[in-house]
Subunit: 233 residues, 2 copies
DNA sequence: GCATGCTATTTTGTATACAATTTTGAGTGT
DNA sequence: ACACTCAAAATTGTATACAAAATAGCATGC
């Protein structure tokens, strides 16, 4: 298998599995067995088990005793919960970031923004490039949380973002609404760079609320769509 | 070993270890080895390892590869972070609870409050009874989070409370400040029962901020105290 | 044809054996 | 007395073997 670090196998397996889940390579609802993963990654079941334990704690997989693990499937309600919390945490983190950001931090944020713009401006961009733009856009929030200086806050926000990232990707990827996110991100970064904590926080909260409405609307539509076919069949 | 449930050993070990850490039976900073715990609980190292993984994810123990695990020691800064987040989450949860609480929920809260009062009113109460009062007082926040209906929020708040509980116990146990908490708890429950979300949320935030100041002040004093002796020796 | 019960397979849970690494301590040399 | 080296002990990391439980499939009986 491809080991990035020289650390423990457990960590490698964890990272590999997490990446596969977050990017949707292993779709939600999939059943994952220890043996399969162990065979695929050429390791024994032991490190795989430990990775599963951590993933379960992260909420990325759900496991019941002696029934194996399933990649967690979010329903609409779980999204409501997640975005509710994200609004609180992201808002607070952005406020903090506006007061603590150094010049280096600000440069980093601006660079990420520029990268988003660059990827968005490519004429006939491929799916891969669209993904990249989304990834940088989501990472922006992670970096803001990091800049906030509250390590625990950063960790919690990353956890939530990990859980939602796959859905944001697959659901929002084809929407023009993402253009709006880009503008909002720019405003947020601007406020942080200006040191305007109140404004930055408010913008962040509005932004999360907007994402929330987009995702919920799409999921609702999808759900209606599916139940329509269920009735028709 | 004493197994509560008929579930997996991993879960039993996890619960047992968590209880020992949260109650301070294993003090922060202690080095814990897999073999010791395995021997003490009469199980093999495997379930112990998995329990450690989960505890590490909870932030209750810290482990570095091939160096074993140590019960996490909070410094003042980590407390600041934890209480910062708790103010947000607890405030929000209390707001939600005020709008969603059923009559049964309200009765439950009132019962917990009454239990606190009862334990506080005992003339020459023992340490055990003081502990019990503290435990019910902290549980009150967990129940409020549960009533909020946001499962994720409840889980996150429980995680934070678990991490802080030991310190609250050992530090605040002998303080009269706890009397204040009892009054504040009563006010919060009152607001929830009245369905006044704004007031309940505001009271909760003030309450958390108060706890924060108490804990920080004590830790600061302790730290000064220790560095005084360090210089003197 | 359908339901029910049993067995066979698959999969997880636990224990143990072995490997690798870190730490500790003794011993020696300066 | 101090520092350095090397070896031995302790501890984690990984693999594998075995046990227990759940699922699935098949056969049998109605």
């Amino acid at each position: 298998m491809a080991r990035k670090t020289k650390d423990t196998l457990r960590d490698s397996v964890y990272s590999a599995l997490k990446a596969m889940i977050v990017t949707g390579q292993i779709p939600p609802g999939s059943r994952v067995t220890e043996s399969d993963i162990a065979a695929k990654l050429n390791v024994s079941r032991t490190p795989v088990r430990e990775a599963f334990n951590r993933l379960e704690r992260d909420g990325l997989v759900t496991g019941r005793p002696r029934q194996g693990y399933v990649v967690t499937e979010f329903d609409i309600n779980m999204f409501r919960e997640a975005f509710d919390i994200r609004e609180l945490l992201d808002g607070h983190a952005t406020e903090l970031a506006a007061t603590t950001a150094t010049e280096k931090d600000k440069a980093r944020l601006r660079a990420m923004l520029a990268e988003c713009e660059r990827l968005a401006a490519i004429p006939d961009r491929t799916t891969k490039e669209k993904f990249q733009e989304l990834e940088v856009g989501i990472d922006l929030h992670r970096v803001i949380a990091e800049i906030s200086g509250n390590v625990m806050l950063h960790g919690m926000l990353c956890g939530i973002l990990d859980k939602c990232q796959h859905y944001v990707w697959t659901e929002l990827l084809w929407l023009d609404e993402w253009k709006m996110a880009r503008d909002e991100h720019a405003e947020i970064v601007e406020a942080i760079c200006a040191g305007d904590a109140a404004r930055a926080g408010a913008l962040a909260r509005v932004h999360v609320r907007g994402s929330r409405e987009n995702v919920l609307r799409l999921l609702q539509a999808k759900s209606d769509y599916q139940s329509f076919f269920a009735k028709a069949s």
